[in-house]
Structure formats: structure tokens, C-alpha cells
């Protein structure tokens, strides 16, 4: 199939061939030729209010659906506004394709109007990127971009296209073959590795399944469930993996890391074997690396060979697709177990005791509303079939702790980059991808003021998300650190956002329903009121107690052994047999 079309038309046809059903973007000079055929395309284009919103929306869409998210922007500032969401998607391995217009080929390098070297700028924050100056290259680049973004360890791919390449005539050929000589995926793990891993697991009396976001990316929740059932080992799910394993499952010890449960943190710390599944030994999980799980051997299963041994030596590496690795591991392990099974009774008695003695909890303040209670009630009322997107900070940690997740792709957050302002646009993207699902943005008043303009996009495009602003009038997590580490000197963390802006009026001005809740008695009523509104976005301004803190906590740079369950309060290790 071939016909003479403009490069712009070739781009739109390529996106259609790649299976794109929606993209988020804003037009501008250099990308303008593409917007003419977009006008006629079956692809839904959602006009956002800021390119950052387009990028996070593409990410939210991708995280909720597993499909590639697409964002589109013009050259220069349009492209540079995508830098934050691209870096965010790169850190969290989210498959998105970003299309940017570039100044015309002959103008490249002349410091032309709205010129920015976005390919150069995004080299370290994309899985791959392209600068296209010949329209004949457009279909191949788009085909490769979608393949690279979605396969292996997913990630963002940027395709920068010069304006004249969009304007010139070209033959449209959707490629039938890909020739990426340097892109080789190892999907099936090495069989010796599987045997070695099975041998380690069969010999371990203190194993932990250390589950990372890779389990969600590879759609391997079912395989994880089977492996967990077979081994009977404790399971911990990292911030990126919440929902990969049901919170209601008796083997689940919760989230490890800086704000993880005592049981999850200690399980990793005291284990003799870490069965690491699509996790990357991030500093927020390991604490001080040299003191992390010092007696544990490590099985590291990941599709990215560069993760093996990056932060922690792996005794056994399983490079491959996680679902396949776990599927291979089960029969190998069954053969071992047929001969002998390790006794985990002692290990479970220790972990069970920690779980019972140190559950997640919070106090209701004498005056004011507990933010943890608000978030817990949203999770309880809206339920585990809803999608929850969080910003970054205290509310994010509480949402990871106090909402109970049962399913993959129901918890969206910016884990690696820690991008404040992620929640509203990501929730928008998720709702577009999953229109029949209730989608909440659990946001902070600081985060909300970074990207709330996308509520206009939601209102106009009938994307009825629900936003809970956990309003403590401050940059709460920074304030918490100031309380703990800077003698309560609150330098520049007071946002005064109870007074300005008025979030209810702001919501109203943006075409949303605005609600306010400041007392414990009104929490359920207000959430239910929001649940009943399905034809418009809803914003609830929850005025909460500003000095609530996130606990437990492993202070940055310290050992997981120094976990605190409240200020200056460590677990009573003396009574725990470890």
C-alpha cells in the first residue's frame, strides 16, 4: 500500500497503524502541519492546557491500561515542557511515545525561533529518541518508537520531526520488517539460572518475595500469585508494585522502604534470600546499601540486564520476562520441593509477630482532621476496583499505606522521579484509558497547585475524575523533614492554601464540582457525594491537621535497622526474636 501524502499525513497514518486511539497535546508552529490531518483522524486528540499535563496524561493512560501513551507538542518550549513527564516515565519504565515538532531542517542549528535540541536534551531520559528530517523516515521511526517503548523494559521514546518533513510529500509505507540491529531482547531466562534459583529457594528458611513494578509491567500478577502460593514466603510490594499482590493476602507484609511497614522492612533486612522480581534495589527501599539485608543471598529477576548487579550483587540472575521466569520457576521448584521443603514456621512466627505488633496506624489529632483517615476512607468507600493516582509527598505515602490494593494498575504514582503535580494529569489519562472505572487523584495542596489547570481539560472533555486535595496548607513532607531534622524551622513550606486559593471556588471556576470537608463526621458524606457525581470532575478540599507525619520512617542515608515507628520511637527489638 503506497500513496503520495504529506509527511504530516504519513505521521497520522503511522500513529493509526500503531494502534493509537488517543493522544494528549497542544499545537504550535512547528507541529502545526500535523494538526491538519489530526483534525480528520479517528484518533481522539485531547487538547491539554500545558504540555506537562499531556506527558503525565500519557503516562497515566499507559499505567492504567498497559498500552502505549502518546503525547504531542510543538518545538522549543512545547518540547521542553515535556521534559519532566518524559524523565518521570523513564524513571518508572512507562511506555510513552512523545511526538514533537522541530523547526524546519535548514533552520536546525541556527537558533531559530522556538528551536530547542530536544533530541539532545532528552537523550539521558528516553529509552531512545529520533530526529526526523526526511519524511520517508516517519513510518519507520513511529513503528520503531512504539516497539521500543512497549517491549523489554518499557520506557519513553521521543520522535522529533522537522516542520518541512511534515510538509513535504512522501510515499507512505508502513514497514513490514523492523531492522533494529542493536535492540535484542532476552525474554526467556537461562534454564541453568532457573535451576540455581530453585535450589536457593528450596534451601532458604527465611525467604522474601521482593516484588517491584516490573511485575505489573509484565502483567505477571497471576504468576506471582502462583509462586507465592507455592513457596509460602512472605511478600513485600514496593511503591511501584502496590496492587501486584493483593493486600488482603495473608502472605503480604506490605510495602518496604523509607515509609514501609516494620514487618516488610525487617523481612528484607533479616532474610536469608531475596527473591527479587522486577525491583531495582532503589535507595528508598534499601536504606544505607552497605547495611541492607547483609545475610541474604539474592535472586534477581529482571528484563533489563543492566539492573543485575547495579546496586546489589546477584547470586543468581534471571534475565527475561518476569511472567516467563516465574512460570519456569514453578515446575523447577516443585521438583525440588518433592525431595524436601524448607520449614518456614520460625520465620513466619517472627514476621507474624512484627506484623501484629507494628501495624500501620495513626492518631486522630485533638483538633482537626486526620489526613490518613481521609485517605483510608476514600479507599474503603471507593474500593479496590477504583484507580488511585497520587502526587508526591506525605499524601502519596499515606495513599500507598492506607488504601488497600487488590489489583494491578490501580495505583499510579511517580515513584522514581518523585514528580509533584503528577496526580491530576495522570488521573485524567487513566480515566481516558479506563472510562468506566472510578479514578481518584489523591493530591496535596502543593502538588495540586502545580498542574490543576488540567481540570479544565477534564471538564471540557468530559473526563470526570475525582480529586481529593489533602490540604495541610504546606509542603507537608518537606515540613515533616524540617520538624525532624531542621529544628522545626519551617523555611518556605507554608503555602497558606487554606485561605488562598479557595480550592472550592477554583474548582467551580474550572467547570468542576467543588466540595469542602473539615471534620471527621463529614468525611464519608463528602466522599459519597463525590462518588455520586459522574458527569463532571469533582474536587474535594479536605482541610487536614498540618502536623500529621508519615510513619514508620527510615531516615535518608541511614540503615533499615534504624526504622522508627514514631518520633524517637524504635520498635522494641528486645521482645522480638530475630
Amino acid at each position: 500500500m503506497s500513496s503520495q501524502v504529506t509527511g504530516a499525513k504519513s505521521l497520522v497514518q503511522s500513529l493509526e497503524h500503531a494502534g493509537v486511539d488517543v493522544m494528549f497535546g497542544i499545537p504550535g508552529g512547528a507541529i502545526l502541519p500535523a494538526y491538519d490531518p489530526i483534525f480528520d483522524s479517528k484518533i481522539r486528540h485531547i487538547l491539554v492546557r500545558h504540555e506537562q499535563g499531556a506527558g503525565h496524561a500519557a503516562t497515566g493512560y499507559a499505567q492504567a491500561t498497559g498500552r502505549v501513551g502518546v503525547c504531542i507538542a510543538t518545538s522549543g518550549p512545547g518540547a521542553t515542557n515535556l521534559v519532566t513527564p518524559i524523565a518521570d516515565a523513564h524513571m518508572d519504565s512507562v511506555p510513552i511515545v512523545a511526538i514533537t515538532g522541530q523547526v524546519p531542517g535548514p533552520a536546525i542549528g541556527t537558533d531559530a525561533f522556538q528551536e530547542a535540541d530536544i533530541r539532545g536534551i532528552t537523550m539521558p531520559i528516553t529509552k531512545h529518541n529520533y530526529l526526523i528530517t526526511d519524511p520517508a523516515d516517519i513510518p519507520r521511526a513511529i513503528s520503531e518508537a512504539f516497539h521500543i517503548a512497549s517491549s523489554g523494559r518499557p520506557g519513553p521514546v521521543l520522535v522529533d520531526i522537522a516542520k518541512d518533513a511534515l510538509q513535504k510529500m512522501t510515499d507512505f509505507h508502513w514497514p513490514t520488517q523492523r531492522t533494529l540491529a542493536g535492540y535484542r531482547l532476552q525474554l526467556d531466562p537461562d534454564s541453568q539460572g532457573i535451576e540455581d534459583a530453585a535450589a536457593l529457594i528450596a534451601a532458604s528458611t527465611k525467604p522474601v518475595l521482593y516484588v517491584g513494578g516490573g511485575v505489573i509491567k509484565s502483567n505477571a500478577a497471576k504468576e506471582l500469585f502462583a509462586l507465592a502460593a507455592l513457596t509460602g514466603a512472605p511478600v513485600v510490594t514496593t511503591l511501584m508494585a502496590r496492587g501486584a499482590f493483593p493486600d488482603s493476602h495473608p502472605q503480604h507484609l506490605g510495602m518496604p522502604g523509607m515509609h514501609g511497614t516494620v514487618a516488610a522492612v525487617t523481612a528484607l533486612q533479616k532474610a536469608d534470600l531475596l527473591i527479587t522480581l522486577g525491583a531495582r534495589f532503589d535507595d528508598r527501599v534499601t536504606g544505607k546499601l552497605s547495611t541492607f539485608a547483609v545475610n541474604a543471598k539474592v535472586i534477581h529477576a529482571d528484563i533489563d540486564p543492566a539492573e543485575i548487579g547495579k546496586n546489589r550483587f546477584a547470586d543468581v540472575a534471571l534475565i527475561g520476562d518476569l511472567a516467563r521466569s516465574m512460570r519456569s520457576l514453578v515446575p523447577a521448584l516443585e521438583r525440588r520441593y518433592a525431595k524436601s521443603r524448607p520449614d518456614l514456621t520460625q520465620w513466619w512466627s517472627q514476621m507474624g509477630s512484627l506484623r501484629n505488633n507494628y501495624p500501620l496506624g495513626y492518631d486522630h489529632p485533638a483538633e482537626g482532621l486526620s489526613p490518613q483517615y481521609v485517605i483510608e476512607r476514600i479507599g474503603a468507600i471507593s474500593g479496590p476496583d477504583s484507580i488511585y493516582a497520587a502526587g508526591v509527598g506525605q499524601h502519596q505515602m499515606w495513599a500507598a499505606q492506607f488504601i488497600k490494593y487488590e489489583n494491578p494498575r490501580t495505583w499510579l504514582n511517580s515513584g522514581g522521579l518523585g514528580t509533584m503535580g503528577y496526580a491530576v494529569p495522570a488521573a485524567m489519562g487513566a480515566k481516558v484509558g479506563a472510562p468506566d472505572t472510578t479514578v481518584w487523584a489523591i493530591d496535596g495542596d502543593g502538588c495540586f497547585q502545580m498542574t490543576n489547570q488540567e481540570l479544565v481539560t477534564c471538564a471540557i472533555n468530559k473526563i470526570p475524575i475525582k480529586v481529593a486535595v489533602i490540604n495541610n496548607e504546606s509542603l507537608g513532607m518537606v515540613r515533616q523533614w524540617q520538624t525532624l531534622f531542621y529544628s522545626s524551622r519551617y523555611s518556605n513550606t507554608d503555602l497558606h492554601s487554606k485561605r488562598i486559593p479557595d480550592f472550592v471556588k477554583l474548582a467551580d471556576a474550572m467547570g468542576c464540582v467543588g466540595l469542602r470537608c473539615e471534620s471527621r463526621e463529614d468525611v464519608d458524606k463528602t466522599i459519597n457525594e463525590a462518588m455520586a457525581i459522574n458527569d463532571a470532575p469533582v474536587v474535594i478540599d479536605f482541610g487536614v491537621f498540618r502536623d500529621a507525619m508519615v510513619w514508620p520512617m527510615v531516615a535518608a542515608g541511614t540503615s533499615n535497622d534504624e526504622i522508627m515507628i514514631a518520633r524517637e520511637l524504635a520498635p522494641d527489638w528486645g521482645s522480638e526474636e530475630l
Binding site: A18, G19, G66, R67, V68, R119, G120, M123, P124, K127, H128, L131, S143, F146, H147, I148, A149, S150, S151, W174, P175, T176, Q177, R178, T179, L180, A181, G182, Y183, R184, L185, S218, N219, D304, P305, A306, I308, G309, K310, F313
Partner: protein, 187 residues
């Protein structure tokens, strides 16, 4: 810390050098020398990178490099299994019989004899070049330029062949797009 020489086959496409340089800079890898040039295949360039590294770091560098889509193959050039050379051009001020003796003894040659600026060319390994420079010091070194290391494995095998062997085909991802289907994009 120890020096390691990596040979890297890359697609001959714009921006490849920037990608490699960006990766090394971002991850804090120390480059001792870098040489890039064409190969027997016009679509492929070859980089020879000398790195100052310790322990497991070499595996990590190789794995990170290989994540670059334009990197096709990587091989460490181990000292006993490979042949390494650098090119040195050096300009000295003083001439004379002694200079010719030194130059000949080191297997170098004088390529230009302008008054007050004799240009000497030498191709050797780094130790040999350092020794030459030491012997040239009395003739007053005015200016010098040295290339990065280039290296090839000794024997019949080539890096391109090894790359093909590892993957089974020369273009491992050359499967049909139709066969992969749209579902391919949806995982």
C-alpha cells in the same frame, strides 16, 4: 582501578557519539581515551573506548552501553588476545644526528623537517610512546597530539561475527511486524 579497552560496534547514525558520551558522563564512568572510525561495513562504526574502572563495573558499563539502541555489539579487548595501537605526532625544536638515532631506535619516522619544528610520527602502544617521548625531551617538545587507542582481536574471529553468533541472526529483531501484530504494542 584498572584500564579496560572496549570495542563497540555502533550504527553509523547521527547522534551516536553524543549518546555514548552522555551515558558515560551521566553514570560517572571515566574515559581514558576514545577513538571512533569507519569499519568494513559502511553502516557500522567502531568505537574503541579505554576506561578506568574497578571490579564489577565493567559488566555494568557494558550492560548500560548495550541498552543504547544504536549499540550493536561490545567486546572487551583483553591485552593478550588483542593488538592495540595509538598514533603520536610530535613536533620538536632541535634537529641533529642524535635525533635521527632516537627516532629510528623507536621505530618512528621524521615526516617533516622545517627549521625549528621537526615533525615526528610514531605508531605504537602507550608504553612505547611514553618511552619515545622521554627520549625526545632533550630535543625540546614544542607540541604533540596523540590519538585514542584502536585495537583488534588477534585471530580469525571478528566482533561482527561474534555479535551475529550471539543472536543467531545479523539483525536479531528483524521479525515481521505483521507477525508481531498490534498486540505487541499493548503489553
Amino acid at each position: 582501578m584498572a584500564l579496560h579497552t572496549l570495542s563497540v560496534l555502533v550504527e553509523n547514525s547521527p547522534g551516536v557519539l553524543a549518546r555514548v558520551a552522555s551515558l558515560f558522563s551521566r553514570r560517572g564512568y571515566n574515559i581514558d581515551s576514545l577513538a571512533v572510525g569507519p569499519t568494513e561495513n559502511p553502516a557500522i562504526s567502531r568505537m574503541t573506548i579505554v576506561l578506568n574502572l574497578e571490579g564489577h563495573a565493567l559488566d555494568q558499563v557494558s550492560a548500560q552501553l548495550f541498552k543504547l539502541i544504536n549499540v550493536i555489539g561490545i567486546q572487551e579487548m583483553k591485552p593478550v588476545e588483542s593488538y592495540e595501537r595509538e598514533l603520536l605526532l610530535v613536533k620538536v625544536e632541535r634537529s641533529g644526528d642524535q635525533l635521527e638515532k632516537v627516532v629510528t631506535a623507536h621505530g618512528a619516522k621524521i615526516v617533516d623537517q622545517s627549521p625549528g619544528g621537526l615533525l615526528i610520527e610514531a605508531v605504537a602502544d602507550d608504553d612505547q610512546l611514553q618511552s619515545l617521548l622521554k627520549d625526545l625531551a632533550p630535543f625540546i617538545i614544542k607540541e604533540l597530539v596523540q590519538s585514542g587507542v584502536v585495537a583488534l582481536e588477534i585471530g580469525a574471529k571478528t566482533l561482527a561475527e561474534r555479535t551475529m553468533q550471539e543472536t543467531g541472526v545479523s539483525n536479531a529483531d528483524q521479525r515481521s511486524v505483521k507477525e508481531a501484530g498490534t498486540a505487541d504494542y499493548q503489553n
